[in-house]
Amino acid sequence: MENIPEERIRHIHLVKVHDLTLSFPSAKGEPAKPVLDKLSFGIRDGEILGLIGNSGSGKSMTAYSIAGLLPANAKIEEGAIKFRGKDLLSMKPAERRKMLGSDIGMIFQEPASALDPLMKVGKSLEEILISHGIKDKAERYNRISDILSTVGFATPEKIYERYPHQLSGGQRQRILIAGALLLSPKLLICDEPTSSLDSVTTVAILDLLRKLCIDMKITILFISHDISAVKNFCDRVIVMKDGKIVESDTTEDILMRPKNPYTAELLTNARLDPRKLELTPAECDRTAEPVLSCKDVSAAYTASLWGRWDENRVLNGVDLDIYPAEIKGLIGSSGCGKTTLVKTLLGLMKSEGTINRKSDNTGAVFQDPVSCLNPSHTIMWHLKEALRPYKRQMSKEDIQVAIDNAIETVGLDRGYLNRRPGELSGGQRQRVAIAMCVITRPKLIIADEPFSSLDASSAAEILKLLAKINREHQVAILMITHNIHIVRAVCSTVAVMDAGKIAEDGTCDKVLNSPESDATKKLLEAENTLHS
């Protein structure tokens, strides 16, 4: 990737941004600190340009300025944006809107909610064509079929009839790409398009985008905080901080030889490297009776409308044993049934087969600490609430001691007890969620992607904390993750899930170094492509 591939060299600038200054003035019109500060850069025709920087650095606002999708309260103080020589900022809103979709395509972060839940995806795509004045119904249908096969759907006519909730995250992201490319725009702006996808899907989506970039002669502006995706995907990278460009160069020069200390710091922080954390999990005894044992567990989501029967079997005979004080990793691409397994293990979903628990006391830590806590109550209330089932056997003093111990265990000051979730950072909220688990002294904690919504340094802290709790409290942990580095660093055994079954189960050393199943090989391959 040192050079732009020959077939894409077209050195004219497609977009020129000149001295762009953007701010959010307060309602009274007082000047505010600019979000973009005299920003100037160009996007060359045919290139894939990466835009990186911490959150709040102005990456997304840059993209929205080019697309014309700025929030109503944003104000462009000065500067110009030219698209193929045309000045965008002097255009009327209606003209700019027409450019969206036909000249500039946009892909956003959240494929889960970016499609109208009430509309078949084919209809959603058709809306785009209708809006851009394509009146012939047959032509619309053909164009949609074509684009659906271009983005990799083997049976477009079936996908056309699907509702968004019937598709996986990767499939939805393909639909969104299809929508953005439906009218063959020149520029595709991707705002964190892979941040909510697993590594296998990320690799597939990036491959698709790169192929489309060549086939359809598209220029891409790629905004991401995922350095590994940028590294594999972009020709050139711009690093932003506080609305200014820190440096810009070819991807290799930026990533390998960063000139600015901010870039260097960004690169080290961006990736969680668990190997450096020196984690020492507890020794576990695999001859003891398991804390949790699943035999042939199956589960299905069933549905039917007026007698048309439809069953979606998600778990297909899962066998899984977790021993005392063991940290077991559970990996697999999205849609393989990990989350459904968590639901059945916690008793939140009906299942067939046998699940034996040594104790009823199982804790759970989930992905999103924001929505797990009740915003109107204090941390103290949350911890008391976690103790509610045991309240009768405990005196007031016992409860106070348990709360103090739990908050200390997760490394928070007692002062936090009187705060509410809104006053805490993401990492601190995840600590509270863990404290709510630990306070009940569980034998097993099920952690469902507990790091994925955290930045790298908070994720490292939480990982250390879980290892410490495992060691000091002899708690077994089932760690569901899509990060194989975490598995290597902290888990003693790992199970790989595929299509509702355990494809492979064994020590980390064996499974990750000499994988036997195809599912494991595929996961490791994607991981290597991304993190080599």
Binding site: G101, M106, F108, M119, E127, S131, H165, L305, G307
Partner: protein, 317 residues
């Protein structure tokens, strides 16, 4: 049997159980409150022998359970016996008054939807701006005024504005249908006003919520116009959640019409109910209470079923 069919069957069972409880409560209530149907029919001067004879003729001397079962059977066959006060069959009395109440409810619902939706859409375009604030304040005022007071205010205004308007005028639907609808418009408007405020408030926040959703952002990114996004995406999604609100509004409208038709002097169910209460007409009252409860429960049932049909996530997953 699929989940959708299962859902509908469970809802129907719920409906039947509710209705059974309503019938039981209604019957028990009218059995324990003081008052005697035979006394009402015969008047205060009747002798004990006359009362006993009428009681046995009306079946009031039978055991409670038998009386209840025969009343329950009557509910299904629309044979609720004779009204003590009017001397005609209860079912006939209700059927006679029904058009006014139903007509008013339909017109009021049309007012609610036709007025509250556009205002909500206008308000949600720029939340917090002047127009939105004016609408919100007006909504609060309308919401706070009780319907009977509102009726009096509107009668006063209408009498002052339109020389042809005469409060208390009524045409039977069979004689003059246009006149019938015409004389229902103002009372319907009075019932609708507070409900317009309520639906407006709900739709406004629902549209604002949908407007900030990811799929709206995405549709904008594809160059769809604001109007197209509103009509094709935002309103259908807001509607799914507003179905429940509309069903509550409709049952409120029914209840509200009982008072407003008294003020406007319209021969609807409300006046019949009041007449029944004043004269301790138990056969009439128990029948009416049951049927009003029945309509309310049926509305909620319809809302549940409609909601499950409108949302493919409930329908298919």
């Amino acid at each position: 049997m699929g989940r959708q069919a299962g859902f509908i069957i469970s809802k129907i069972l719920e409906l039947l159980a509710t209705l059974f409880l309503v019938s039981l409560l209604t019957f028990v209530a009218f059995s324990v409150i003081p008052g005697d149907t035979a006394q009402v029919i015969l008047g205060p001067d009747a002798s004990q022998a006359q009362l006993d004879a009428l009681r046995s003729e009306l079946g009031l001397d039978r055991p409670m359970i038998v009386q209840y079962l025969s009343w329950l059977g009557g509910l299904f066959t629309f044979n609720l016996g004779k009204s003590a006060a009017f001397g005609t069959p209860v079912a006939g009395l209700i059927a006679e008054r029904l058009p006014v109440t139903i007509g008013m409810s339909i017109i009021a619902l049309i007012f609610v939807i036709v007025i509250s939706y556009p205002l909500a859409i206008l308000s949600a375009r720029r939340p917090g701006k002047t127009l939105d604030q004016i609408f919100s304040v007006m909504g609060h005022i309308l919401f706070a005024i009780p319907p009977f007071a509102l009726s009096l205010i509107i009668i006063t205004i209408a009498s002052a504005l339109f020389s042809g308007f005469r409060a208390g005028q009524y045409f039977a639907p069979s004689d003059n249908f246009g006149g019938f609808v015409g004389c229902l418009i103002l009372p319907s408007f009075c019932i609708a006003l507070p409900k317009i405020a309520m639906t407006f408030k709900y739709m406004r926040s629902s549209i604002i919520e949908q407007n900030s959703s990811e799929y709206v952002k995405n549709a904008k990114g594809h160059g769809l116009s604001d109007l197209r996004i509103l009509v094709k995406h935002v309103l259908p999604n807001s509607n799914v959640s507003s179905i429940t609100v509309i069903s509550i509004v409709l049952s409120d409208i029914l209840a509200g019409s009982l008072i407003v038709e008294q003020v406007f002097n319209l021969p609807g169910l409300g006046r019949l109910l009041l007449a029944g209460i004043a004269r301790r007409d138990f056969p009439l009252l128990s029948g009416m209470v049951f049927y009003i409860a029945f309509i309310t429960v049926l509305l909620y049932f319809a809302a549940d079923i409609l909601g499950s049909i409108a949302d493919p996530r409930i329908r298919l997953k």
